[in-house]
Symmetry: C2
Subunit: 306 residues, 2 copies
Amino acid sequence: MDCTKCGNPKIIIKKEQSGQYLCKDCFIDSIEKKVIKTVRKEKLLDKGDKVLVALSGGKDSVTALEILNTFRQMNVIDICAVTVDEGIDNYRQDGIDIAIRHAKRLGIEHKVVSLKDTYGITLDEIMQKENHRGSCSYCGVFRRTLINKAAREMGATKIATGHNLDDEVQAIMMNYLEGNTNNLTKLGAKTESEAEEFTVKIKPLREIPEREIGLYVVAKELEVHFAGCPYAQQSFRKEVSEHINQLDEAHPTIKYSTLRGYDKIKKALKDEFKNDYAHGRCEKCGEPSSNRLCKACSFIEELTGD
Amino acid sequence: MDCTKCGNPKIIIKKEQSGQYLCKDCFIDSIEKKVIKTVRKEKLLDKGDKVLVALSGGKDSVTALEILNTFRQMNVIDICAVTVDEGIDNYRQDGIDIAIRHAKRLGIEHKVVSLKDTYGITLDEIMQKENHRGSCSYCGVFRRTLINKAAREMGATKIATGHNLDDEVQAIMMNYLEGNTNNLTKLGAKTESEAEEFTVKIKPLREIPEREIGLYVVAKELEVHFAGCPYAQQSFRKEVSEHINQLDEAHPTIKYSTLRGYDKIKKALKDEFKNDYAHGRCEKCGEPSSNRLCKACSFIEELTGD
């Protein structure tokens, strides 16, 4: 088969959902066009935005940075990046180095923020504690808090994450299965936060399947951190992911139809359950919080007694 | 282990979702109480209702009839039943005979209605046609139409079907995966129809897992038709059902949490997308229809040219 678009006989992918065969250049082009389409359709960017890319150095965030940079080149937005150092030995430093090199290559402002500097404890140290709640609970909360802080400090108007189609559909299905309608109001292409102090989050890659992002970084020869987190667990997410991928084999448009359906459901849920969060502040760090302490500070209190 | 409720050492089931061990009598009691709870919570019955049970003779509809009959014995409602003869040789007659015996045993009005008498063609004959669309498409549409007609003719105010928890969760997940928000507004405990001429449908067994209904009919020694339909196919429903059952093994409350989440989503969807169906009538049979012909009559036209 030759490339469906240009006739080039060197094919690198068959797109199961559309039946197209694509060569390297047409594949790269198709991914970039699709991300730009998502950005336009979902109104993810406003002219003059300063977008903070949450840049771990993995394939997803590097791709998000790479494609958002085209909007920067057109002077539509400015871009900066932040990398969170959770403090995981023999794992995180490689990602940080890669992130630093990408920021330098593109000439963008970049910051590395660490759990150790902010909270005086690393994830490795947390995992030594007897009363820990599992790595992912801490990592998610601390990372979110550090990225939100960095966004404010760097004057960012949006935070872009590398969530891909698979991540998004997994989250949707997990919440359908758990019946968590509250979480279901919070997913989606653009997460406008209940508290004004939280910067709006955008997911420009949410319509790109994970395997296509893997192929994109290879095709574009982008340096990425491919190692998996040593604390990654056999989680509910992984289980759900396997079921979705099995269904996807016989029904290659199923991830897209799930996403489209969810987008309609989200709209209905948001109108039905208007958020009425308390817009308070954490007593300790001043971050937005509906309780006395924000989640990050209450974890620290539990872990260290501080 | 002894029965968690009465101490009887003869256990017939461990309920994975609650961890309870139950003896035969306590199990039967638990099923009946749970159905009664669903009926009350969802307001499925009004005093004076005449409920038409769609009685195939299979385990689900026989259980629905049996438990709804307790409301009849308390003089809350009247009950009648209808059995649809699709015209499937070496299969349907056994179910019809069982349905007739149950109706006779309980002393309720019962009617057998057939595709042949109504449309002049059996499902077996349809499946001989070269241009058929697969047995399930026809069966679903014709059965629904015949049951709706029977409800009006018998003066029923509600139609009860035997849909169990597994059936309901499968339908919910299929529509999530297909992104079919229109269908998602139509599932649920009580299907109020867009057209007044369609009788309200209720699903009293929607919180009972399929395997517990199987055990219930065995425990109560109810005669049921256990044979599977010869036309049953390897369908999307079956695929989805297998994935849900695998998830259920490690997460025994997952069917319930999916159901609860869906019930909240349905409410939001109904408010968001108000139905504005054309309330017309089928030119040929006079049934409610938004097109010139109702689905059943358009199938017949396609199949027979009539």
